[in-house]
């Protein structure tokens, strides 16, 4: 029996989760929400995380009904992410590991998403679409690495959606993406936007600057409603994501797709991916906001796999990094 | 002598090609075609590289006829038009259609089943010598074809003259 606690705080969520051999014992989380029109700044986000992290830690232990002595390993997000929040969370993880006398493990955030997705959905060897505010990648496992077959060549899809939300002042509560999704359901008029797929790669910056520019004109002239723009933006960027996922499936001969990351809980994206999979006789695996959105359990789960395969991070190596590619990690726990 | 090919896309359509040399009544034949006494396309064989070229033109013509998108008034004029690399109809007829002074002609027929009567009607009308349709290659005017289809010397390195011609015929709608 192995129990791992995971600390995650690479962006505006702070989460701590505890995993015992594939079972999620607890997974509390807090989100730093900024006013409409504003993104989250690193130092403010770090301040938010500092203020709540001990409360969240207490919750995690209480909900799991565990004492520090029951924990076998302390996992934390090493990167990628925002520097200041990463440092804050790593510092707490290091401290409790020393207080409790437990080994530490620095975990790649993206690997956390993938392993949590695999645990929850039981997908065996899927093509992974990892979509969030900072990442857009199509990943497949081969020869001990999660290899990136496709990704964004500029900004992430979630970043594109968030920044659009800021432009037309959509609320950030609970998240800009969620509110775009709700508004898109009321949209009907399809507005043509640029479509930028390059093989298994995508580009969103052109779409963002186009819609930033066009939205003011179109909204003030009454040519379309904000709901129509939300609808059209989702239809366009999600089509691109489904297309590159399908291209990777065809390329790798895979019959499974797993969607992870914050944008992955968008039901329209899941619906479109489901239609594509059905057409190919493939299977779609997705999770809900509990596990799609950044959380502590995902770091605990990746940490659990790493710990079981014999990895630990020495104290002097327990630094963080803002840039940490998914394919840098040697996957020692899979064949 | 003649070659007949059943169109794979349109199994009830067959394309027959008959080649005649030493033709003495080209003008008369052309008149017959205009009057509808010959139900077929009369083609200048020096502009053909291979019977396959005609099949490509005929298949496209039948397809466009089925979907109501022909650019000319009949299936046979459409076949001639399809051989041309450009979208200029009168230019296509001038280059690829039979002319009054020609001493050879390739007759293209589109029919639904084997029709020996149709073929013997044609042979009866043409005063000339029928030769195997494949022999069209011996009449090909390579220089003229290369010029008309604007075929580059590099292009012949990656394929035959026929390849180059067919590619242009197939893609002319989007140029």
């Amino acid at each position: 029996m192995t129990v791992v606690i995971g600390f995650e705080g690479s962006a505006n969520k702070i989460g701590i989760g505890i995993i015992k051999d594939g079972e999620v014992l607890s997974n509390p989380r807090r989100t730093y929400i900024t006013p409409p029109g504003q993104g989250f700044m690193p130092s403010d986000t770090a301040r938010h995380h500092r203020a709540v992290i001990l409360t969240v830690l207490k919750e995690a232990l209480e909900q799991a009904g565990l004492k520090p002595a029951d924990i076998d390993c302390v996992a934390y997000t090493k990167g990628p992410g925002m520097g200041a929040p990463l440092v804050t969370v790593a510092l707490v993880a290091r401290t409790v590991a020393q207080l409790w006398g437990k080994p530490l493990l620095g975990v790649n955030h993206c690997i956390g998403h993938i392993e949590m997705g695999r645990l929850i959905t039981q997908a065996n060897n899927p093509i992974v679409l990892y979509v969030s505010g900072g990442n857009t990648q199509v990943i497949a496992y081969s020869e001990r690495r999660y290899r990136i077959f496709g990704e964004t060549i500029d900004i992430a899809v979630g970043n594109c959606l968030d920044r659009f939300a800021r432009v037309i002042k959509i609320s950030n509560d609970p998240s800009p993406g969620y509110n775009i999704e709700q508004m898109a359901k009321k949209g009907s008029q399809y507005v043509e936007l640029p479509y930028a797929v390059k093989g298994m790669d995508v580009s969103f910056s052109g779409i963002l600057s186009y819609i930033e520019d066009a939205s003011h004109k179109m909204l003030s002239s009454g040519q379309c409603a904000a709901e129509d723009l939300c609808f059209s933006l989702q239809e366009t960027v999600f089509s691109m994501l489904v297309e590159i996922t399908e291209r990777a499936m065809a390329h790798c001969g895979s019959q499974e797709v797993l969607i992870v990351g914050g944008v992955g809980c968008n039901m329209r994206l899941q619906e479109m991916m489901g239609v594509m999979c059905k057409e190919r006789g493939a299977k779609l695996f997705a999770t809900d906001e509990q596990f799609c959105i950044d959380n502590g359990a995902m770091i605990a789960q990746a940490g659990w796999e790493m710990f079981r395969s014999g990895q630990v991070t020495e104290l002097e190596d327990s630094w963080i990094t803002q840039r940490y590619r998914t394919d840098e990690v040697e996957v020692t726990w899979r064949d | 002598m003649h070659v007949t090919h059943e169109l794979e896309l349109f199994p009830d359509h067959r394309v027959t090609q008959m080649l005649f040399k030493e033709v003495k009544n080209a003008a008369e034949l052309r008149q017959c075609a205009v009057e509808g006494k010959i139900k077929g396309a009369l083609i200048n064989p020096t502009m053909l590289v291979n019977p396959f070229q005609v099949l490509v033109a005929a298949n496209k013509a039948v397809n466009l006829q089925k979907i109501g998108k022909m650019k000319t008034r009949s299936l046979y004029s459409e076949i001639i038009f399809n051989l041309s690399p450009t979208n200029n109809i009168s230019e296509a007829f001038k280059r690829f259609g039979s002319s009054d002074g020609d001493d050879s002609v390739l007759v293209v027929l589109v029919h639904d089943k084997d029709e020996p009567q149709l073929l013997s009607d044609i042979t009866a009308r043409v005063s000339g010598r029928q030769v195997p349709a494949e022999d069209v290659s011996s009449l090909t005017d390579h220089a003229k074809i290369k010029k008309l289809y604007k075929i580059t010397p590099q292009e012949e390195k990656c394929g035959t003259l026929l390849d180059a011609v067919v590619c242009r015929m197939a893609s002319k709608d989007i140029l």
Partner: protein, 233 residues
């Protein structure tokens, strides 16, 4: 006469051999006008909005035909186009009989460790791509699966480029740099530990054309953008 959809092509394809279903199209093998033929059918993608679907499908069919013609004109081997139907979005192409993908070739050769042959192949690919970019054709989906190798009787091999659906015409070094970047990622993720081989490809690309150095510079920029991107969340 009103335009109607002919059932001839769907009926024909229902009897053809389905080779694969790619991200864009179903690919069939059949005999057409007496020749071995590959049919690429861009069927409607029901996951995407019908307006977007129609626009993409039509544009890609047209681009594929255009770029094939442009490449062949420049002496770059690509399959001959026999017939295009824009209502069912089908392209009928020459089948490159007796060929295998560069991807399969690399995979099987690496097992037997014939590094000389692979080096030759990488250089050849680099040259062809330089030539293609010289013609301002940006392929848009370069992978080792989209290159075919046909061994000829004289021992020489002929390299074909295929799948031009995402291609477009551009003279911008940026677009060509992204084209190589897409290939680099597909290449290295499909064939792990082949960095030196890909280096060789790029070197030969750089040596083959005067326009290459600007493209390689852009490639470096695009790579850097990827590494520099903060990856929050």
């Amino acid at each position: 006469m009103a335009q109607e959809k002919s059932m001839a092509i769907p009926e024909f394809l229902s009897k053809a051999e389905l080779l694969k279903q790619g991200a864009e199209a179903r690919v069939y093998r059949a005999e057409f006008l007496g020749k071995p033929t590959i049919v690429k059918e861009r069927f409607p993608k029901r996951y995407r909005h019908p307006v977007l679907d129609e626009k993409l499908t039509h544009r890609r069919t047209v681009q594929e035909v255009r770029s094939i013609l442009r490449c062949r004109r420049a002496g770059i081997s690509a399959p001959v186009v026999y017939f295009v139907d824009y209502t069912s979005h089908c392209i009928f192409l020459e089948e490159i009989v007796g060929s295998s993908t560069v991807r399969d070739h690399i995979a099987s050769t690496r097992q037997s460790d014939c590094s000389n042959e692979l080096a030759w192949l990488a250089e050849r690919v680099g040259q062809i791509l330089a030539k293609m970019h010289e013609e301002d054709v940006v392929h848009g989906d370069l992978t080792t699966s989209n290159m075919l190798l046909r061994h000829q009787e004289d021992g020489e091999s002929e390299l074909f480029l295929i799948d031009f659906g995402l291609s477009y015409i551009s003279a911008l070094p940026e677009d060509k740099g992204v084209d190589l970047y897409v290939l680099e990622k597909a290449f290295l993720s499909t064939h792990p530990n082949t960095e030196t081989l890909f280096e060789r490809l790029l070197k030969s690309y750089a040596a083959a054309s005067k326009k290459s150095s600007a493209v390689i510079k852009k490639l470096d920029e695009v790579r850097l953008r990827g590494r520099k991107r903060s990856m929050v969340g």
